[in-house]
């Protein structure tokens, strides 16, 4: 039982990170109907920016952790947002109106490019960082097994909840969110009521990228090791989460992320850690076969 609860906490933490990345996939899919395969790389860049920012802050002597975290968070979001914006501007916007396959191929190209770009600039070696926040609460103790939730896990889960609330408000209540939903439903008509569709799409990429950056920051401080290749696996898993939750649906992405995190944690705990990725991707296959619209996705109804 204690073991179960511990895995539940670990799974939720991991799931929060996947969920934040998955939102980027789902938002972009919602608005322009393409899978942005370079999104995992944006997350990786977010992790690298966080890593570098921590080193720089340490070098200039800012060691008060809440302040450092806040500064790094903002830097990671801003830099990743610039990358996200540029990727859309360079690789996708010129292909608007092209067949659906073209931006997809362009996205894969962008993903490979960004991986190699970071590999060349930062080197291929794994980067490691001292744990920043240690300690936590002991929830229960039984037969020598303690269930703990670390401050870091609390930080990750709370920050995720806060960001979800902020983004849900933006989408649901503000003019920008309304424009995004309008573009999702009918891009031509949105432009006819005066919505700048290109700018709305750009802002969607910016929002998705800044959430991925937060996930990158979280993974940097949670695991303490990053390399140029982390975006690939995390990206595909977050994509699985988005599909599981129902691609195009924001709550679905978060729910899918949590489920994928839990599956991974429990599979590692009760079966074999080597096959955790297989377990996750089996879900992708099963969902695509049996419920392609995902848990919260709306089925497309064709009126005859």
């Amino acid at each position: 039982m204690e073991y179960f609860i511990q895995q539940l906490i670990n799974g939720l933490t991991l799931g929060a990170i996947y969920g934040l990345i998955a939102i980027g996939y789902t938002m972009v899919y919602g608005i322009i109907g393409m899978i942005n395969f370079a999104h995992g790389e944006i997350y990786m860049i977010g992790a690298f920016v966080s890593f570098i920012a921590f080193l720089v802050l340490g070098a200039v002597g800012i060691t008060y952790i809440p302040l450092a975290l806040l500064v790094v968070l903002l830097l990671a979001m801003v830099f990743s947002a610039i990358y996200g914006w540029s990727v859309e501007r360079i690789a996708y916007r010129p292909l608007r109106g092209a067949p659906r396959l073209s931006p997809l191929i362009s996205a894969i190209g962008m993903s490979i490019f960004l991986q190699n770009y970071v590999q060349i600039l930062q080197g291929a070696r794994v980067k490691a960082m001292q744990p920043l926040i240690s300690g936590g609460f002991t929830l229960m103790e039984h037969d020598g097994f303690t269930v703990t939730i670390s401050y870091l896990q609390i930080f990750i889960i709370v920050l995720t909840i806060v960001l979800m609330a902020v983004f849900a408000t933006v989408i649901g209540k503000t003019a920008l969110g309304r424009a995004q939903r309008a573009c999702e439903q009918d891009r031509v008509m949105a432009s006819l009521v005066g919505v700048n569709v290109d700018r709305t799409i750009s802002l969607t990429f910016v929002m998705g990228a800044s959430l991925a950056a937060v996930a990158g920051l979280m993974v940097t401080i949670y695991y303490g090791v990053i390399d140029f290749y982390i975006g690939f696996l995390a990206g595909i898993k977050a994509f699985t989460a988005a599909v599981l939750g129902g691609i195009g649906s924001m709550p679905g992405a978060m729910l899918g992320g949590l489920l994928i995190g839990l599956v991974e944690a429990f599979w590692s705990a009760y079966f074999s850690i080597e096959y955790k990725d297989v377990a996750v991707f089996s879900i992708l296959v099963l969902v695509l076969i049996f419920r392609p619209t995902g848990i919260l996705g709306k089925p497309e109804v064709d009126k005859v």
Partner: protein, 295 residues
């Protein structure tokens, strides 16, 4: 049905030509539309009416021609503007032959999103909206008030909170007009607003359009097949056939124009005109509804 003051030019279309490869959809068409008047564009199927609209609203770049809008803020050359700036800056709104609402937004939201630009500048790209600043809240309250005003005018006030996609057909048509009006246009382009409406709905539509002309003092441009609408409410009628303008004038003058009769009925002079077609062209009273989707 002219207004008391001398009409002012709102829209001037000069030598508009639109070619798609070898196909000439519009061939050197010039006309103008006055402010505070209803100008109807009629013509047989394939005459190029919707293409004119598409040029006006930035969907197509005309091959040749100048489209000048005399806006209170100055003149705009519509053929040179980016699509989304035409509603934004030049205040031209349009509706579609096949209705294009945002089906998964509520009726009210459909009208609020049409005021996107006002809200966007008031909210400084949603930042103020997120922080719940007063400035944004005021702007949003005003936009909801305007939306409610138009919902009241089109009789949908009690349905403000249901999804637009769930409205019956006639209501969707009226909502589309209300949404166009929420952008606060100076020129409203309506592509077959009466298509698929029953005679009662069609009569209500006439009243709505006259109300918009008289109370909001804007120009309306109307594509319509339903002659009961065209003859009853238009101040000015333009007839297109095969991409060329064949008549231009008051409804009465156009109705009796031999070119128009020939375009609608064919060249054969010996043939007796079928009485129901004559009725379509001449009689003012509402007639049974058009076949929906007649184009």
């Amino acid at each position: 049905m002219t207004t008391a003051t001398a009409p002012t030019r709102l829209l001037e279309v000069e030598h508009l030509t639109m070619r798609f490869g070898g196909l000439v959809a519009i061939d050197d068409v010039s006309f103008s539309a006055n402010d505070k008047e209803i100008t109807a564009i009629i013509g047989p199927n394939g005459a190029g009416k919707t293409t004119v609209f598409n040029c006006l609203t930035g969907f197509y770049k005309p091959t040749v021609g100048r489209l000048t809008l005399h806006h209170p803020k100055g003149d705009f050359l519509l053929e040179q503007m980016e699509g989304f700036r035409i509603p934004q800056k030049a205040s031209v709104a349009r509706t579609f032959q096949n209705i294009r609402l945002f089906p998964q937004m509520t009726v009210l939201e459909n009208l609020v999103v049409a005021q996107h630009n006002v809200l966007m500048s008031a909210s400084a790209f949603s930042l103020a909206g997120l922080l719940g600043l007063r400035r944004y809240k005021d702007a949003e309250r005003e936009s909801i008030e305007l939306a409610r005003y138009w919902l009241d005018k089109v009789g949908l006030l009690d349905r403000a909170d249901i999804d637009a996609g769930n409205l019956p057909y006639g209501d969707q048509r009226r909502l589309e007009i209300a949404r166009a009006m929420c952008t606060e246009p100076v020129l409203l382009c309506l592509d077959e607003p009466a298509a698929g409406l029953n005679p009662k709905e069609s009569a209500e539509l006439n009243e709505l359009l006259l109300f918009i002309r008289d109370s909001h003092k804007i120009g309306l441009l109307l594509i319509e097949h339903d002659m009961s609408v065209v003859m009853k409410i238009s101040d000015h009628v333009i007839v297109l056939d095969y991409g060329c303008k064949i008549a231009d004038g008051s409804p009465e003058a156009v109705r009796d124009d031999p070119n128009v009769i020939r375009a609608y009925l064919g060249e054969d002079e010996d043939e007796e005109l079928p009485p129901e077609v004559l009725a379509d062209l001449k009689i003012d009273t509402p007639k049974p509804q058009n076949m929906p989707g007649s184009e």
